[in-house]
């Protein structure tokens, strides 16, 4: 067994990384399709306020972050559905409100200061507790099974909302479900990837898959593969190089994206005759 697995904290960190690497691209593919790539960022900021509230009140930060992120997701979708304010402005208000609230709340905590938030923002491998892993496993199972069950509806609504509504699909409910799933993914990421970087793990593997795959199914499979590899190898690298896990994971994912763009460019230069032979 490699040395890295001798430590309990590393086993927990790798498990948490695998869960988020699996779940984030699954939720992200619908966000990318809907052109809502940045919603995970906004919800991450609100989850930060939740973390600070947890530290202030002595509650487990995972649960307070989850409550804050889900509440923000519901608020965002409700306001957007009513159409009074543009989704962009709502997102910005939530975004800044979350991070401002987080910083102010943490300063009120006993011995609290903004530095306490750094591991939540950027991920840190030593912070995942056994209780966290249990919560994350439950959240990941809920997320993946929701995505599996709702896949056709999420696909239709994210792809062409007007058509989905004309067919009679419950577009609003599907949008709310997607927003809540995004909030849950954000919380799932808070130990390994970090609340400021989770959006990258939802978006970048899908952007990469989009370069390589020819169908939605293939894109999803490719993105999940990339997410898993990036998050597990990122945590491993983080251990050996002693750097924050979130940043490492995201840099690896981006390296994958750059490679995919290169592969795509090389493939596009092939004569059409050769390409038509491919499936």
């Amino acid at each position: 067994m490699p040395e890295i697995l001798d430590y309990d904290f590393m086993r927990r960190a790798l498990l948490a990384a695998a869960l988020v690497g699996l779940a984030a691209p699954v939720v992200g593919i619908f966000l990318v399709q809907r052109r809502l790539s940045l919603i995970g960022d906004g919800l991450g900021h609100v989850a930060l306020a939740g973390v600070a509230a947890g530290l202030l009140t002595g509650q487990a930060p995972v649960w307070t972050a989850l409550a804050a992120a889900v509440a923000a997701a519901l608020l965002l979708e409700t306001v957007r559905w009513r159409g009074q304010t543009s989704g962009d402005v709502v997102l910005a208000v939530i975004f800044y409100g979350g991070i401002a609230g987080g910083v102010v709340l943490i300063s009120l905590a006993p011995a609290g200061n903004a530095a306490n938030l750094a591991p939540y923002l950027f991920g840190a491998i030593t912070t995942t507790t056994a209780a966290d892993v249990r919560v994350f496993a439950v959240l990941a199972v809920v997320l993946l099974s929701s995505a599996l069950v709702l896949r056709p509806w999420l696909f239709a609504v994210s792809n062409d909302e007007e058509y989905a509504r004309a067919v009679g699909l419950p577009a609003q409910a599907v949008n709310i479900a997607l927003a809540v799933m995004t909030a849950v993914t954000v919380v799932l990421s808070m130990r390994t990837v970090g609340l400021l970087l989770i959006s990258a793990l939802m978006v970048v593997p899908n952007a990469t898959a989009q370069q390589l795959a020819g169908s939605f199914r293939a894109s999803l499979a490719t993105a999940v593969g990339i997410g898993l590899v990036a998050s597990v190898s990122g945590v491993t690298t983080s251990y050996y190089a002693d750097v924050p896990s979130g940043g490492t994971i995201v840099l690896l994912a981006i390296a994958g994206f750059v490679a995919a763009v290169g592969i795509r460019a090389a493939r596009d230069r092939l004569p059409a005759r050769d390409r038509s032979a491919a499936p």
Partner: protein, 253 residues
């Protein structure tokens, strides 16, 4: 009216930001017929379809599909939106797009069943796109994409088919073959097809029924009665082409 009606709007008024887009429109489209909605740009043609399907809120009036309120009749109508309404950057195959037409029937727990898959292949075959089933939708030409959307709508197996500008940006040959297919749907299956259309010449030659629209309903009836020089002058102004500049004067008269 003794002829069965596919789609009917009664006293429909829709406005965007307090500006009326449709004003007190009454129109009925017969079953088992090809109907065209014609009118200048900004006449509210697309809005009429979207309001009839409940996709935009109307200020007053109602829409009936086969005599039923739209909400309870969405399963009876299939919609082909304007082709440029969706950005198709994401890798999605032709088959995956057409399968969407079955999602209402399959619901959210069940997978797309074998019979549904056969239906998808059938619909692709009918529009001549089966050889392209594994192609990415984004890589197709405008005309090919329009066929795919028609296949998706056919997959819904709805008796009423509603299409928004299906021939915009489509070459003449594709338009002719799509029109041929629509006539076939009318003749062999008795489907009712309602199309927002730009070209008055094909509206006369290929369609049975027409609504001439310019915010208000100018005329609605068999093409020989609805598409007269007088009604077109009222809808388009002096010239019988798309003349968006004329619309302001017209709806205040």
């Amino acid at each position: 009216m003794t002829v069965p009606v596919a789609l009917e709007v009664r006293r429909l008024t829709v406005s965007y930001n307090a500006r009326p887009v449709l004003w007190d429109v009454d129109a009925a489209f017969p079953a088992a017929a090809l109907s065209a909605i014609v009118g200048p740009n900004g006449a509210g043609k697309s809005t009429l379809l979207r309001a009839a399907l409940g996709l935009v809120a109307s200020d007053s009036g109602q829409a009936l599909i086969q005599g039923r309120p739209v909400r309870s009749a969405l399963g009876r109508v299939a919609y082909v939106p304007q082709r440029d309404a969706v950005d198709w950057d994401f890798p999605i195959t032709v088959r995956e797009v057409v399968e969407m037409g079955r999602y209402r029937q399959t619901g959210w727990v069940r997978r797309v069943a074998r019979s549904d898959r056969m239906l998808v292949e059938d619909c692709l075959e009918r529009v001549g796109m089966r050889p392209y089933a594994t192609r990415q939708i984004g890589a197709l030409s405008g005309g090919q994409r329009q066929r795919v959307f028609l296949a998706r709508a056919l997959c819904q197996q709805a008796p009423v088919l509603v299409m928004d500008e299906p021939f915009a940006g489509v070459d003449a040959r594709t338009e002719a073959s799509l029109l041929g297919l629509l006539s076939e749907l009318r003749d062999t299956e008795g489907r009712s097809v309602i199309v927002v259309h730009h070209d008055l010449a094909t509206a006369r030659s290929a369609f049975d029924w027409a609504l001439v629209l310019n915010v208000r309903a100018v005329a609605c009836g068999p093409v020989s009665e609805a598409l007269t020089a007088a009604t077109l002058r009222r809808a388009y102004g002096a010239v019988t082409t798309d003349a968006p500049g004329e619309q302001e004067d017209l709806w205040t008269t």
